[in-house]
Amino acid sequence: MSQKQFVIIGNSAAGIAATEAIRRRDNASKIIILSDEDYPAYCRCLISYYLAGDIKEDKLSYRPESFYKENNAEIFLNKKVARVDPKKNRVICEDKNQFSYDALLIATGASPKIPEIKGIKKKGAFGFRSIKNTRDILAVAPVTKAATVLGGGLVGLKAAYGLKKRNVEVKVIIKSKQVLSQMLDFEAAGFVQRKLEENGIEIMLGQDAAEIIGNGDIKAVKLDSGKVFESTLIIVGKGVSPNIDIVKDTDIKMNEGILADDSMRTNIPDIYAAGDVCEGFDAALGMHSINALWPIAVEQGKIAGANICGENIGYEGSVGMNSIEFFGLPVISLGMYKLKDGDTGFEELKISNIKDNVYKKIILKDDLIKGAVFAGNIRSSGVFLRLIRERVSVSPFKERLLSENFGYPDIMEFVKDKDEEKLYV
């Protein structure tokens, strides 16, 4: 095999998965990984557990120290890429270093969106995305009595959980009428909200911060209702935007993120995209969409890595999904999680039991599962994900879908299993 040079921008889920996928096929070519962060690959999604004190910092490492050496990959930390030059097949860094490539993977991830609120730039307001953010927050947590989280999405609620575990009083300010509005329907959100409130986290719905008050350091938050309360720490969880700046002057096609086809190729030959920066095909929605989730980034990185080595692997697309757990309440959402006004022809199957904290909802159209939400009891949720992805008609087992014992045996004759996966004789 001729020796090539592959450059990967980004050192997290997608970048690492791609590195491993390349090395499974090609031991000769050079792999260069560029990261603008200070740390070897780490478990980004665990920073809330680190904030909470549930785990120590050493558990954040995603791969052993020897990873880069063993995979013969050259890692450059604190190396911020300024731009990609597809015409000359090279990447130019802010420090003027240049790297040429035979194939390039853009896995730059995303950054917290910081809303335009008066005073938000004051000392004491943080995004919550990196080890650095977490260390900054932990440094002030011991002297923080009251904190405010802006945004009721996953990141915001996880931050609130972490702070609460550090005995900081937390208010979560949420513009919409429910928590996790990008992941759950209103009813399921109620289960999560009750759990958070039972554990002392204050949730304020239908409100937004109007001003962060303080002379230098943050002292208080003023809401759009005019209400003011004390708070010296602000965590912003208002979503993320894909890190696309480095390609904005190129011909690489973008929408919100970088558009990639089912083999993670962009419109430019030899340039691939994967992970949170990538707007790939969504199997549940039937269109391109950013599904910023760790497992999806890994999946996309693996495919990009294989195709960089000359293979031609495609996949059926990702499904927007998520799994979270708060104070013993597990919640999983898959694909379409709520119907919008004007959606017609859908059917909902539902169990809602507040007493036992169990909620299950399945959204169907023409006997195909389009989405599902589970709270309290998440067993066999992977089976539902599979039914969504493989577009399996549920008509033979529809009446079993909500049953306690529904599982793989019910679907095994209708899904694509390889022969060697057959265990039942």
């Binding site: 889920a13 998965a17 478990c43 980004r44 999604c45 665990l46 557990y49 549930d54 785990i55 558990k59 490492s61 995603y62 791969r63 760790w294 497992p295 890994v298 999946e299 693996k302 999904m321 799994s323 979270i324 757990e325 013993g328 597990p330 999983i332 898959l334 998440i378 067993r379 066999s380 949720s381 992977g382 089976v383 994900l385 599979r386 079993r400 014992n405 599982g407 793989y408 045996p409 019910d410 899904v415 060697e420 996966e421 265990l423 039942y424 004789v425």
Partner: protein
Amino acid sequence: MKQLYYDVKKCLGCKSCEIACAVAHSVSGELFKALREEVLSLPRKKILFSKNSNYPVSCRHCKEPKCVDACMAAALVFDKEKGMVLHDESRCVGCWMCVMACPYGAIRPNIKRKLPLRCDKCKDKEGPNCVEACPTGAIIWQEEL
């Protein structure tokens, strides 16, 4: 590599395998002591009844394990030499991404312990406990087909 296979025609759904599994993974390793342990040991195998038959469901140690890819804590790894998906409990945070990703629904959450329940083929013992426990010989422990 040895794998667990099931002769569904022989399975009565008696759940002896579930009990043997829970006992094998208890602290004491003995049924009556296991029942009194502070945190009750739960089975990593479940019998699901479907279409007039009983199907024991547990982790099958896929060669392309979706749970490993999904694990955001790097607690799950595929050990090529052993041909097994291994789980490092000390790294696990109980996020349930693996439960969401398993296409066989074979990983169940142990909510109390915040750990996934997965078959480990009784790695420290001669062979999986469920095999011996099955009164009808429905569980077959043999080299992969």
